[in-house]
Amino acid sequence: MTTIALLLITGLGLGALYFLIAAGLSLIWGLMRVLNFAHGAFFTVAAYAGWSASGLAGGASPEVQWLLALAVAVLAGGAFATLTEVLLIRPLYTRHVGQVLVTVGLALATISLVQGGFGSDPKRLALPAWMTGTIAIAGANIPTTRLVVIAFALAVFALLIFFLRRTRFGLIVRAGVENRAMVQALGIDVQRAFTLVFAIGGAAAGLAGMLAGTYYGTIDPGRGTSMLIFAFIVVIIGGLGSVTGSAVAAIVVGVLQQFLNFYGAAGVGDFSVVLLLAVVLLVRPGGFSGSST
């Protein structure tokens, strides 16, 4: 029972990270039909920016360091994503494959730059003392970081749903995911929504980068890419363009991965997630309706 509780919550924690990455990816795909490979780069750059900021504030308390790192990561992710959309994605508006390719190139260039500048060894992240312990739940000792990550993901989920359901931009995004041309035909400049969606996605990815660092205790250049692939799988299973779908799929994928990695052998869980994707895609009749809530 305690093992189950531990696996469940750890799985939820992993799922929380996937969700943070997948939500942005899903909206970007749903609205702009762009497969954003650079999302992993947003994740990584933001994580390192946050880590550097935390290091710069070395004199302050670990709480302040951590919060600063978080804030910097979110801002860095959002800024980087905005620049990417304006400089690289927008000029390629008519060239769909070109947009995907340019994100591939950006991912390649950015991550290797980070690796060159910081080295490939993982860097320790300074955590507040109360986060390094465990909390007893259902008899299991759950690392507090898992709960922190889950809490943030829930908050972001609530914020995103609020944004989509209650703001005009959210309305535009929801409509645009369904039918971009008709939104234009109502006199709305969808382009501004594109930039906003990219920025939101980047900020969420940045948060994920920092929270992953919290979850694992370290940051490294390769994690963005490996998490990105699972995030893609989550996006597809959850339905392209759907934030709620991403949330549900993220939970399923995270928990499944944890359980199978534990009860099977290491790697079995990862493998099964891939199989799950194949099954889902085969069962769904090929179409992906966009609905962003």
């Binding site: 795909w29 591939v104 260039a109 500048g117 692939i229 990862d270 493998f271």
Partner: protein
Amino acid sequence: MRAAVLIGALIVFAALPFAGFSIPGLFEGTLGGPGTLNLLGLCFVFGALALTYDLVFGYVGLLSFGHALYFATGVYVTAIAVTRWHWSLPAALLLTAVVSVVLPLVLGAVCLRMRDIPFAMVTLAFAQAGSILVAQNPFGLTGGEEGLALGGDTLPAFLVGVANTRNLYWIALVLLIAIYVVAWRAVNSPPGRVWQAIRENERRVAVIGLNPYLYKLGAFVLSAFLASACGVAYLLLQGGANPQVTTADFTLALLVMVVLGGVGTLWGAVLGGVVYEYLDFRLVALSNTSAVQALPGILRVPLSEPLFLLGVLFILLVLFVPGGLGGALRRRLPA
């Protein structure tokens, strides 16, 4: 005129191992020496590999993110059969050939049920599964993170040892030529024309009564099989298998190669593969020179990372030169 240039180039390359002089700056050591031959051999392998990817991406229009998987099949199946099971090389090659047809047939049958982005994602997912599988070192076969050195008593002598690098070089050259010919014949054949029609407008192909699915599957299996052959040559040149070739990064590098050289042109893809591998190699050497090491960090770091330079080059190409190097060259050279 193009044919004459091509044949001339082939003769030059074939005769290269006998060259005693060197071209400093371009290659270290003499042209005929093992260092250069190994590099060129790898360039040929990557040129051929880029070509196989161009078949499926440039000609049929299938954005596959899992091509590395089939390359890795060639590398790992042969390595395992020879090193772990002590099979003879011909037997190992036969096994590899069979796997290289069955695996893409099965996976392709599943992946091709989808189109465009979902297709790309499933191919990526399967490749990722393969990568995980290799890293797990099941039954101690793959060597996990450390890779698998090609060893053993069953390898023919003429393929082993630094002195025989020239043999591997020639094998790579022959591979490139063979794959080019196969690709050229395939693309200009009736099925090849259907491929290109599918790339333009798949619905119209279905309307004429042809089954696009079968044609796509055919192209998929063919390119995978050829990629696997490249994997075997790579294994021989490198003397071992390493899990890097199973990663998504590797397939993305293939994408970069093909776009670099020009999508949908055979020799463009070859050019892209050759240039990419060359740059990847030489940029590392360049970055280790004292000149670069002396630069301030902000310049030195980007210049020391070949992938950074390649990534930037790639972005610039996509933005400004969509036809790739091949396209740009084609505009300058007479047909």
